[in-house]
C-alpha cells in the first residue's frame, strides 16, 4: 500500500508571490507607523473607506477617534503621544529590542543589538549613512521584514525558487528567534501606557500580525 501523503492546499507560485507582496505592504505600513510621528497623508489614507474597512477586519477601529477633527489638530496630538510613548521624557515604552531581550545584559546597544545588526547586514543590507538611530528600533526591524518579503515576492515572480526558499528561512529565523520574543512585550507596554486609541490599536495589530507571521513561518517546511 502506498503511504498516505497528506493533501495540503499548496498555494500556486503566483499566489505565493502575491501573498508575499501583501505581507510586505503591511510590514511597510507598520514600519511607517512606528518610524516617526504620523503625517496628515498617513491619516488621510487610514480614513479612506477601503483602508478603514480593512483595518476594521483585523480589529482596528479608528473611525471615531480620527473623525470630527482637523488634520492639523490630530497630527499635533499624535505627535505629542508619539513622543510621550517612545521618546520621553519620563517613563515610556522604549522601542529598542535589546532592552526587552538579553536578561541581565539587556541594555541600549546591548548584545541583542549586535545580533540584529549583524543579522540584517548578513542578509545583504547596509544601514544608510544618514540613519541616525539604533540598529534594533522596531521600525527598522519592520522595514527589514518589509524588504525581505518584497525580495521573496520578486524571487517567486522570477521563479528562482531556491532563492525564495532561502529568503523565507531568513525571515523565519528573524521572526521566531527574535521579533516574536520582544514585540509582544513592547506592544503590551504601549497598550498600558497609551492615552489615545491610535497607538494601542496599532500595537494590537502589530502583535497579532507578528505572532501570526511567526506561526506561519515556523510551519513552513524548510
Amino acid at each position: 500500500m502506498k503511504p498516505a501523503i497528506e493533501q495540503v492546499a499548496v498555494p500556486e507560485p503566483d499566489d505565493k508571490a502575491r501573498i508575499a507582496r501583501e505581507r510586505s505592504s503591511l510590514y511597510g505600513f507598520l514600519a511607517s507607523v512606528f518610524r516617526a510621528e504620523p503625517t496628515a497623508a498617513l491619516l488621510g489614507e487610514i480614513r479612506k473607506a477601503a483602508f478603514g474597512g480593512a483595518l476594521k477586519a483585523v480589529g482596528v477601529d479608528l473611525v471615531d477617534s480620527l473623525s470630527g477633527r482637523s488634520d492639523e489638530d490630530l497630527v499635533e496630538e499624535l505627535a505629542v503621544e508619539y513622543a510621550r510613548l517612545f521618546i520621553g521624557p519620563g517613563p515610556h515604552t522604549t522601542p529598542y529590542a535589546a532592552v526587552y531581550l538579553g536578561g541581565d545584559g539587556a541594555s541600549l546597544w546591548g548584545p541583542e543589538t549586535v545580533w540584529v545588526k549583524r543579522f540584517i547586514e548578513d542578509a545583504g543590507f547596509d544601514y544608510t549613512p544618514d540613519f541616525q538611530g539604533l540598529p534594533d528600533h522596531i521600525a527598522v526591524e519592520l522595514e527589514f521584514m518589509q524588504e525581505m518579503t518584497s525580495r521573496e515576492a520578486r524571487a517567486l515572480e522570477e521563479a528562482t525558487v531556491a532563492k525564495a526558499q532561502a529568503i523565507v528561512k531568513t525571515e523565519a529565523v528573524f521572526l521566531t528567534r527574535h521579533m516574536a520574543r520582544w514585540v509582544p512585550k513592547f506592544c503590551a507596554k504601549i497598550t498600558s501606557q497609551a492615552r489615545l486609541p491610535f497607538y494601542s490599536e496599532m500595537a494590537a495589530l502589530t502583535v497579532d500580525f507578528i505572532l501570526s507571521e511567526a506561526e506561519e513561518l515556523a510551519s513552513t517546511p524548510s
Binding site: 501523503i5 501573498i19 507582496r21 501583501e22 505581507r23 510586505s24 505592504s25 503591511l26 511597510g28 505600513f29 514600519a31 511607517s32 518610524r35 516617526a36 503625517t39 497623508a41 498617513l42 488621510g44 489614507e45 479612506k48 477601503a50 483602508f51 474597512g53 480593512a54 483595518l55 477586519a57 483585523v58 480589529g59 540584517i120 547586514e121 548578513d122 542578509a123 545583504g124 543590507f125 547596509d126 544601514y127 544608510t128 544618514d130 540613519f131 538611530g133 528600533h137 521600525a139 527598522v140 522595514e143 527589514f144 524588504e147 525558487v161 531556491a162 532563492k163 526558499q165 532561502a166 531568513t170 497579532d208 500580525f209 505572532l211 501570526s212 506561519e216 517546511p221
Partner: protein, 845 residues
C-alpha cells in the same frame, strides 16, 4: 485572533497607499545573499578577514569560492554565495584547499635529478637554468623540424589554462598532445557524440519529477558535483520525487535513492534496452516521445515517417525483452517493467548515467541505449530532462597570427584497430605505444596536472616505461607536489597551486544559464612556485616566438575586457571584486534543436544540401576542391565535414538540430548511426557480452572501483583534512561471496588478476552485489607526501605540528596495480569495471 486572510487584505489595501505613507527607511540593499557567506571573522581577534573571490580546482567541477586571508595566510575557503551554479555551496574537498597551499611536502623550487632516474636524488636549480634547459631541448627539436617529438600530456587543463597553454603548443608546432579522458568517461562522451553531437549532458533536477540513475554516484562524485548534488537532494527532500539507482554497489547515492537495484557489472545496458522494449511495446512512447521522434533518426532513410521509425525501433528492440534482460543482469523482469512504466509515464523524468554504465567493453553502447530511452520518452533537452550542457562562452586573445602547421606523432589513439572511434583518445595506452615504438616516440615528455603512473591501470608497466631513458629520453614534470610520476622526472617545475593563480572559468551550469567566473590568487605562490600559464609565455619568448601575452593574469584581464556581458559589467575589475557574473536577463536554454536555421545562413557561399542525409553543410569550409567532388563524396564521408554543419532538413523546414561534434553524424538525434555502421558496428544500440565475463570460472569475481565524497582520484590525498577522514579502502565483498571463500570481516585478502595481485582487507557487507569485489580508487599512494603515503617527499619541510597531527598509519591499497590498461573497442575507454579477479584469504595472514 485575526485570520491571516484579513491581514493579507489589509496588506493589499496598504499597498495602494504605500506612496503616501512611506517615510525614509534605514536600510539599503548592499549585496545578494550575504547571509550565505562572503564574510568571515578571526575567532581570536574578532577582526574581519580579507575575502577574495576565486575558484576551486580540487576537481573538474571548479566551483566558485571565496578565500579568507588573515595576516597573509589563507585560513579558510567557502562557497561563493553569488554563484548561480553552486548557490554558495562547496564540498569538503574545496574546504580543504588550504591544505594544498601549505602541504609540508610541497615542491617549492625547480629541481633537477642528479642520480639515476627515479633514484630520488635532486638538486635545486634556478628558474632561469631550468627554463634555459627545457627551452634548449624544445627549441632544438623545433629547429630540426621535429616539433612533434615534444609530447605534452595533461590531466586537468580547462578554460583559460587550456587556451593559453594550447596557444603555446600551437605556436611551437606540436600536435602530440595527450589527455586523460579515456581513463575517465570517454565512452560516455563518444556515446553522446554519436547521438546528439556534443559530449556533455546536464541533468535538470530543478524541474524533474523522476530520476533513473544507472551507474552514477553523483551525490559523492561527479564532474559537476556540488552543483548537481544539491539540486538532486532538494528534488528528493523538498519535492519528494522518486529516484531509482542501478548500481553493483550501495553507494551513498544509491542509499539516498528511493530504491537501489543491484545489477551485475556491465549489464546495465541490457536493463536499458529492455526498458525501451517495454516503452515501445506498451505504446508508452506516445505523446512527448512520439513527438520527439520527428527529430530522431531511427532508420537508414533519414526522411522516414514517424510510423516507420516506431516500426524500426520495435523491430530492433523486439528480442530485448525484460525476461532476456533478467537472465543477463539479474534484475527481475517485473522490476524492469515497473520502472520502465514509471519512467515513461512520469513527465518530465531524467536519465542519469556515468562510469558504472560506460567504463566497460562496448561502453558507448550503454550510453546510446540510455539516450534511446530518454528520447523515446521525450526527455531530451527539455525542462526536467537530460539537457545539452550550457557553459560560459569567453572571448580571449588568439595569439600570433602566423602559426606553424602542427605536426604530431600518432601515438595518443592507441594501436591501430584498438578502437574505431577514439574521439577522446586512448591515453592509457601511451606507455605501451611508446614501448612498442612503431608509431614513434617523443624525445621530450612533459606532463601537467597529471599523475600518469598512478592514475592509469597497470601502474607497474607505466612506471617501467617512464623510468626507461631509452624509451623517454627527457621528461619534464609540472606539479606542485612530489607524486609517483614526479619521482620519475628529469626536471620538476614547481607549479602554483590553484589557490595561487589566475584563470577564467566556464564550467557547465546546472540551471541552463551560463555563468562566467574567474580564479585569482588568494595568496602569492609559495617559494618559487609559478603558474604554468606564466611559464609557457616565458618559454615561448625564450624560443623566439613570443605569444604577445605577458602571463596568465594578462590573458585573463584581456579576456574579461573582450567578453560580451563581462565587459559591460565592468570587465576585469568587476570580476576581481565579484568573482562571478551571469546575465540576469538570460533565460534557461532548452529545445535548442528545434530552432529554425535562418534562410541567410543557408544562402551562404559553399552551403549545400547533402541529399543522402538531408544535412546542410559547407563544402568550401570543408576544404573540398569542387562542389562536384563534395556532392560525389557526400557529407558523411568527407573528412571533418561535421565542422561545417549548418542545419538539418526535416520535412520542408531546416532546423539547427543536434549539431555534430567529432563525427560526421546528421543533425538528427541519431538512434540509428551510420557512423557506427561505417565502422563495422551495429547502427542501433546493441548488447554485447563482455568476453572476460563470459569466460569466467565459477569462483572468479568481478572487480569494480568507486569514489568517495571527500577525495578525488589522485590529487587530494595530500590534504590532511580529507585524508584524516578517508585514508583506508578495504575491499567490499558480499557475505555470500565471503563465506564461499572463508573470508571474515577484517581478514587480509589477496585479490589477483591476470597482471598481478594486491593484498588488502575485507569489508564483508551486503551493500555490494554477490560476485563483485569493490575497491575505492583513492588510496595506496606510494609517494605524494606523508599524508597520502606515509612517506615524506625529498623536499620535506620538517614540521612538528604535522607529524603530531597525523595519527593514522594505514594508507590503503591502490587497485590499479591489478587492472590492465584495456580499451573498449569503440571509444578506447579504459575498462575499469571489467577486470576478472580471484579473491582468497591471504596466505601470509
Amino acid at each position: 485572533m485575526t485570520s491571516r486572510r484579513n491581514f493579507l487584505k489589509l496588506g493589499a489595501v496598504a499597498a495602494t497607499a504605500t506612496a503616501a505613507i512611506t517615510g525614509t527607511g534605514a536600510l539599503t540593499w548592499a549585496k545578494e545573499n550575504r547571509i550565505k557567506g562572503g564574510r568571515d571573522y578571526s575567532p581570536t581577534t574578532g577582526k574581519a578577514r580579507k575575502a577574495i573571490p576565486s575558484a576551486c580546482w580540487q576537481c573538474v567541477s571548479r566551483c566558485p569560492i571565496i578565500g579568507f586571508i588573515e595576516e597573509g595566510r589563507l585560513v579558510k575557503v567557502e562557497g561563493q554565495p553569488n554563484s548561480i551554479r553552486t548557490d554558495g555551496k562547496v564540498c569538503a574537498k574545496a574546504h580543504a584547499g588550504p591544505n594544498q597551499v601549505y602541504d609540508p611536502d610541497r615542491i617549492l623550487y625547480p629541481m633537477r635529478r642528479v642520480g639515476k632516474r627515479g633514484e630520488g636524488k635532486w638538486k635545486r636549480v634556478s628558474w632561469d637554468d631550468a627554463l634555459t634547459e627545457v627551452a634548449g631541448r624544445l627549441k632544438k627539436l623545433r629547429d630540426d623540424g621535429q616539433p612533434e617529438k615534444f609530447m605534452f600530456h595533461y590531466g586537468r587543463m580547462k578554460a583559460s589554462s587550456s587556451k593559453l597553454v594550447g596557444m603555446f603548443l600551437a605556436n611551437y608546432g606540436t600536435g602530440t598532445i595527450g589527455n586523460h579522458t579515456s581513463i575517465c568517461e570517454g565512452a560516455k562522451w563518444t556515446g553522446q557524440e554519436l547521438t546528439w553531437g556534443k559530449h556533455y549532458d546536464n541533468w535538470d533536477f530543478d524541474h524533474t519529477k523522476y530520476v533513473l540513475n544507472l551507474g552514477s554516484n553523483l551525490l559523492e562524485a561527479h564532474t559537476n558535483h556540488t552543483s548537481e548534488a544539491q539540486r538532486l537532494v532538494k528534488a528528493l527532500a523538498d519535492r519528494r520525487i522518486k529516484m531509482v539507482t542501478f548500481d553493483v554497489r550501495l553507494s551513498n547515492t544509491a542509499a539516498k535513492s528511493t530504491e537501489w537495484v543491484p545489477v551485475k557489472p556491465g549489464t546495465d545496458i541490457a536493463v536499458l534496452l529492455a526498458m525501451s522494449n517495454v516503452v515501445m511495446n506498451e505504446g508508452l512512447y506516445q505523446g512527448e516521445g512520439e513527438a520527439f521522434l520527428s527529430f530522431c533518426r531511427a532508420t537508414p532513410n533519414v526522411n522516414a515517417s514517424t510510423a516507420d521509425k516506431v516500426a524500426a525501433l520495435k523491430a530492433h528492440l523486439a528480442s530485448y525483452t525484460p525476461e532476456w534482460a533478467e537472465k543477463i543482469s539479474g534484475v527481475a523482469a517485473d522490476k524492469i517493467r515497473t520502472i520502465a512504466r514509471e519512467f515513461a509515464t512520469t513527465k518530465p523524468a531524467v536519465l542519469v548515467t556515468y562510469r558504472g554504465l560506460v567504463a566497460h567493453y562496448y561502453g558507448p553502447e550503454g550510453e546510446r541505449a540510455a539516450q534511446m530511452l530518454a528520447a523515446i520518452t521525450g526527455n531530451i533537452d527539455n525542462p526536467g530532462g537530460r539537457c545539452k550542457a550550457v557553459g560560459a562562452k569567453w572571448k580571449f586573445p588568439s595569439g600570433p597570427k602566423d602559426k606553424p602547421t602542427a605536426k604530431k606523432l600518432k601515438i595518443v589513439d592507441g594501436f591501430k584497430g584498438q578502437a574505431k572511434l577514439p574521439t577522446h583518445h586512448i591515453n592509457h595506452q601511451i606507455f605501451n605505444v611508446i614501448k612498442d615504438g612503431s608509431l614513434g616516440r617523443p624525445d621530450v615528455y612533459m606532463w601537467y596536472c597529471y599523475a600518469p603512473v598512478y592514475s592509469n591501470g597497470d601502474c607497474k608497466a607505466n612506471a617501467a616505461v617512464m623510468k626507461d631513458e631509452t624509451l623517454i629520453p627527457y621528461s619534464v614534470c609540472i606539479n606542485p607536489f612530489y607524486d609517483e610520476s614526479a619521482a620519475l622526472a628529469d626536471i620538476i617545475l614547481p607549479d602554483a597551486t590553484y589557490l595561487e593563480r589566475w584563470d577564467w572559468e566556464d564550467m557547465v551550469s546546472p540551471n541552463q544559464v551560463p555563468e562566467h567566473y574567474i580564479r585569482q590568487p588568494l595568496v602569492k605562490p609559495l617559494g618559487e612556485a609559478r603558474n604554468f600559464g606564466d611559464v609557457v609565455c616565458d618559454l615561448a619568448e625564450r624560443m623566439g616566438f613570443p605569444l604577445g601575452i605577458k602571463n596568465m593574469e594578462d590573458f585573463v584581464e584581456k579576456s574579461c575586457e573582450m567578453t560580451p556581458g563581462v565587459k559591460e559589467a565592468g570587465g576585469f575589475e568587476y570580476m576581481k571584486t565579484h568573482g562571478v557574473w551571469h546575465d540576469p536577463k538570460a533565460k534557461p536554454s532548452y529545445y535548442g534543436y528545434a530552432k529554425p536555421v535562418k534562410a541567410a545562413d543557408l544562402a551562404k557561399d559553399g552551403v549545400i544540401l547533402d541529399e543522402a542525409t538531408s544535412t546542410y553543410w559547407n563544402w568550401k569550409k570543408a576544404k573540398v576542391k569542387t562542389v562536384e567532388d563534395a556532392k560525389a563524396k557526400g557529407y558523411a564521408h568527407t573528412k571533418d565535414a561535421y565542422k561545417t554543419y549548418i542545419g538539418q532538413k526535416i520535412g520542408d523546414k531546416v532546423y539547427k538540430g543536434f549539431k555534430p561534434d567529432k563525427v560526421n553524424k546528421t543533425g538528427y538525434f541519431e538512434l540509428y548511426s551510420t557512423v557506427m555502421e561505417d565502422n563495422g558496428f551495429a547502427p542501433m544500440p546493441t548488447y554485447k557480452a563482455i568476453p572476460e565475463h563470459v569466460a569466467m570460472k565459477p569462483d572468479d569475481m568481478i572487480l569494480t572501483t568507486f569514489k568517495v565524497n571527500v577525495q578525488t582520484h589522485s590529487r587530494t590525498q595530500n590534504c590532511k583534512w580529507l585524508t584524516e577522514i578517508y585514508h583506508d579502502n578495504p575491499a567490499w565483498i558480499n557475505p555470500a561471496s565471503a563465506e564461499a571463500r572463508n573470508i571474515k570481516e577484517g581478514d587480509r585478502i589477496r585479490v589477483a588478476s591476470g597482471i598481478g595481485h594486491i593484498e588488502t582487507t575485507a569489508r564483508v557487507t551486503p551493500a555490494v552485489a554477490p560476485g563483485v569485489i569493490a575497491i575505492a580508487m583513492h588510496c595506496g599512494h606510494w609517494e605524494y607526501g606523508r599524508y597520502a603515503s606515509g612517506k615524506k617527499s625529498p623536499f620535506v619541510k620538517e614540521d612538528i605540528v604535522h607529524d603530531k597531527q597525523m595519527w593514522w598509519k594505514s594508507h590503503g591499497e591502490h587497485p590499479n596495480w591489478i587492472i590492465p590498461n584495456d580499451p573498449d573497442p569503440i571509444s578506447g575507454q579504459q575498462r575499469w569495471m571489467d577486470t576478472v579477479v580471484n579473491v582468497s584469504k591471504s596466505v601470509s595472514a
